[in-house]
């Protein structure tokens, strides 16, 4: 039995559900599909809405204006998404995440590298951070499957990559003009510039099973969003219920199994979705929040929180950027679809991990674009043309992510002094990246500065969130792009929330997927790892369901 959409307004629960997935983003969607395609009865509950394409275009046009922003574009904010922050690094949370079908892949850059081998074993290799309970080798086959499923364009021969046993599904994206400039400068300085793996088509690539039913047109280009796997899942019989934020999870009287996900509809109805297995894949902020909100007599510190680590060991990739202008060069920014196509992983691995790994991505959209510059200000006619011409065309730059180390006091808690639109305490984010990341930023900024100077350019901006006052930065330059941690993996139930199969230590039928389960962040953009982990979890859930002999009495 399947229902593809709740667009008809019917948001009642589905009977005889085997797996209830909470969250229709990059973690939940591919996991739901992986189970649905094997015949399991899956329901996906998503807090946000399905963004129809007609409205998508209007939304993108609004985003283009300087007085609107990404939060407005995706209707983030307000009481539903309220949060608080403590500490020095207040992330603009609702300018980063999206609640909706597709999740934050609705606005991501599409960069899809794998974590490196060392990222899984920082403790045993370098004596810092902590080891994951799985190795790169354990995840390697799932990385390959994820790349195939979402369609990744990459260079098999690019340097500084972890081992791979299969080719990228597509050839790499062609280098942009600025990629080539940076490559030339890099050659002079002994810095290798190479293609980045991207979930963007470099040729025709079918992400659906049947070309004839591929209805997707993405205004920003053929970039993957998790909507692809939501639709593939529903085509295989799964049901998606959107605008159905889960309020809490209930367990049976003995506290050993989840019995239902309680969700709320736009008209204020409350429903109980039962299932044999539950997967929380609600993003880094909402996942620990849901567990904490689901506290009970058996779980006074929050559901699945015997360890006390739910919400803790929050992680990120503290960012920095270096931008400059070139005097005699037209840099053709914005002329190519992808925001990024090349970078350098030369500074990812260090001999001794003295500073965080560095992930450098060159920008193809540095500086204002013509339409953006044209809509600003109050000029028209010839004056406007002159203004646009002055601003457009000479900027180059790069963004970089750095690695940080896990800290118990970087955490998400519940803030009861503020409640959301349903009366639930909001999440409160406390976050401090630490010196390991700061040294990584300093090193990365030096590399970027050297490259721009080698090109004869003037550096206009060379700062990271740790090299200047975080609060003084404009929102776009603050942290929070890759929020991770909060429900980490581990072998020891006293120090972690989930095991290597992403099953919670405390409850056999509760799994968690997403960035929440990361132990260390590395510096690689996390989406591909999130999807690989989801595919691994789906295999484990499938195995568990296959051996199941009885259903939970409802």
């Amino acid at each position: 039995m399947s229902r593809t959409q709740s667009s008809d307004g019917d948001r009642t629960p589905i009977e005889d559900t085997e797996v209830c997935v909470i969250g229709a983003g990059p973690a939940g969607a591919i996991l739901a599909y992986s189970l649905a395609e094997r015949g399991h009865d899956v329901v996906v509950l998503e807090a946000g809405k399905r963004f129809e394409e007609k409205h998508r275009i209007d939304r993108l046009k609004r985003q283009h204006r300087s007085d609107h922003g990404v939060a407005d574009t995706w209707e983030m904010g307000g009481d539903r998404d309220a949060y608080t922050t403590t500490g020095e690094h207040a992330w603009p949370v609702n300018k980063r995440r999206i609640k909706g079908v597709g999740g934050t892949t609705l606005r991501w850059g599409g960069v899809t590298p794998r974590l490196r081998e060392k990222d899984f074993e920082m403790g045993s290799r370098y004596g810092v951070g902590r080891d994951w309970p799985i190795s790169y080798a354990d995840l390697q086959p799932y990385y390959a499957r994820a790349e195939q499923e979402i369609g990744v364009a990459g260079d098999d021969n690019a340097p500084f990559q972890p081992p791979r046993e299969v080719s990228y599904p597509m050839d790499p994206l062609p280098p942009s003009d600025t990629d080539q400039l940076f490559a030339q400068a890099g050659a002079e300085l002994g810095i290798q510039v190479h293609s980045l793996p991207m979930a963007i088509n470099s040729r025709a690539y079918s992400r659906t099973q049947d070309d004839g039913t591929d209805q997707h047109r993405y205004p920003a280009g053929s970039k993957y969003t998790a909507e692809v796997h939501v639709d593939k899942a529903t085509a295989q019989g799964a049901t998606l219920i959107d605008q159905a934020p889960v309020q809490r999870l209930e367990h049976g009287p003995d506290g050993e199994a989840i019995t239902a996900a309680i969700y709320r509809t736009p008209v204020g109805d409350s429903h109980r979705q039962t299932a044999d297995v539950f997967v929380v894949a609600a993003g880094t902020y909402e996942t620990p929040r849901l567990l904490l909100l689901s506290e009970s007599a058996q779980y006074p510190n929050g559901l699945a929180n015997s360890s006390g680590t739910v919400g803790r060991y929050l992680l990120g990739h503290p960012p920095a950027s270096v931008f400059g202008t070139l005097p005699d060069e037209t840099t053709h920014q914005g002329e190519h679809g992808p925001q990024m196509s090349a970078g350098s992983y030369q500074f990812y691995e260090n001999e001794s991990a003295e500073q965080g790994s560095i992930n450098i991505m060159f920008c193809n959209v540095a500086g204002p674009l013509p339409t953006q510059a044209a809509l600003e200000g109050d000029r028209f006619g010839d004056e406007l043309l002159q203004t646009v011409d002055d601003q457009y065309g000479t900027t180059v730059g790069m963004k970089l992510c750095t690695e940080m180390l896990p800290r118990a006091d970087n955490r998400i808690t519940l803030d009861s002094s503020k409640t959301d639109d349903a009366g639930n305490p909001v999440p409160s984010v406390q976050f401090e990246p630490g010196d390991f990341a700061r040294r990584g930023q300093e090193k990365g900024i030096q590399v970027g500065t050297d490259l721009i100077k080698e090109l004869g350019g003037t550096v206009r901006h060379a700062e990271g969130t740790m090299t200047t006052g975080h609060d003084q930065l404009p929102p776009r330059l603050k942290g929070g792009f890759h929020p991770l941690g909060g429900a980490r993996m581990g072998t020891d139930p006293a120090e972690s929330v989930v095991d290597e199969t992403l099953q919670t230590h405390d409850l056999d039928n509760l799994y968690i997927s997403g960035g929440s389960v990361f132990v260390t962040p590395g510096a690689a953009n996390p989406a591909l790892t999130i999807m690989a982990l989801s595919l691994k979890a789906a295999d484990h859930i499938h195995e568990a369901l296959s051996f199941r002999t009885t259903r939970i009495d409802q």
């Binding site: 007609k54 275009i57 993108l60 046009k61 985003q63 283009h64 204006r65 300087s66 007085d67 260079d155 021969n157 690019a158 340097p159 280098p175 990629d179 080539q180 490559a183 030339q184 290798q192 510039v193 190479h194 293609s195 047109r217 920003a220 931008f323 037209t330 053709h332 920014q333 914005g334 002329e335 190519h336 679809g337 925001q339 090349a342 920008c363 959209v365 540095a366 500086g367 204002p368 674009l369 013509p370 339409t371 953006q372 044209a374 809509l375 200000g377 109050d378 028209f380 006619g381 406007l384 043309l385 011409d389 457009y392 065309g393 900027t395 730059g397 206009r460 404009p474 929102p475 776009r476």
Partner: protein, 200 residues
């Protein structure tokens, strides 16, 4: 170990620099590109933007009043060297209306607002003013200088629905690209450039 092929041939790079046509003209082709940059398709044939309105009198009652008003506005907004052809405007506007029927009303309201401002300042509808007077109307109202807001005042809605759209149509089009040395003006128009010194 492979690295990226770095150096494009000199001739490839030079081939990208295009000679500017003389004079630059926005045509139907520009409108089609700008529409697709906005995720919309052009439409064949014509839709009527302006329905019969018995209440209109004087110059505003002329059947082409609306389109002529928009054409004069476009001419003022665009660089003086750019020749604005009718098929550019009609293709772009009808494409917008086909995509979103409510845009018709926004255009009509915009034309009315312009005419009100023009009568206020110079006692005649906008399209009958000379260029200097038209530019003065824009400068002395909050057209361009004020906010663009789809739910705001009449001038704010004029800015949002008409003025900003017309500027977008030029600078996302091939002709607009040629004016700036941007070989692929429609390549990335809908997201914002990364401006670390901006306020976003």
């Amino acid at each position: 170990m492979g690295t990226m092929d770095l150096i494009r041939s000199q001739t490839e790079t030079e081939g990208r620099e295009q000679a500017r046509p003389d004079p630059p003209t926005v045509t139907r082709r520009d409108a089609i590109v700008a529409l697709s940059a906005g995720g919309m398709a052009a439409v064949a044939g014509r839709q009527d933007v302006w329905e019969d309105d018995d209440a209109r009198t004087g110059p505003e009652a002329a059947p082409d009043h609306g389109m002529e008003t928009l054409r004069s506005l476009t001419t003022v907004l665009y660089p003086s060297a750019v020749d604005v052809r009718d098929d550019f405007l009609s293709t772009y506007l009808f494409g917008r209306i086909a995509h979103d029927g409510s845009y018709k009303e926004a255009l009509r309201a915009g034309v009315e607002t312009l005419d009100e401002l023009a009568r206020e300042h110079h006692g005649a509808p906008f399209r009958l003013l000379n260029t200097d007077q038209q530019m003065r109307v824009l400068r002395e109202s909050a057209v361009r200088s004020g906010e663009s807001n789809p739910a705001g005042t009449a001038v704010q809605r004029l800015n949002y629905h008409v003025v900003d759209e017309l500027l977008f149509a030029l600078y996302a089009s091939p002709t607009g690209g040629e004016l700036l040395g941007n070989a692929n003006s429609a390549g990335f128009p809908l997201d914002s450039g990364y401006v670390p010194w901006g306020t976003q």
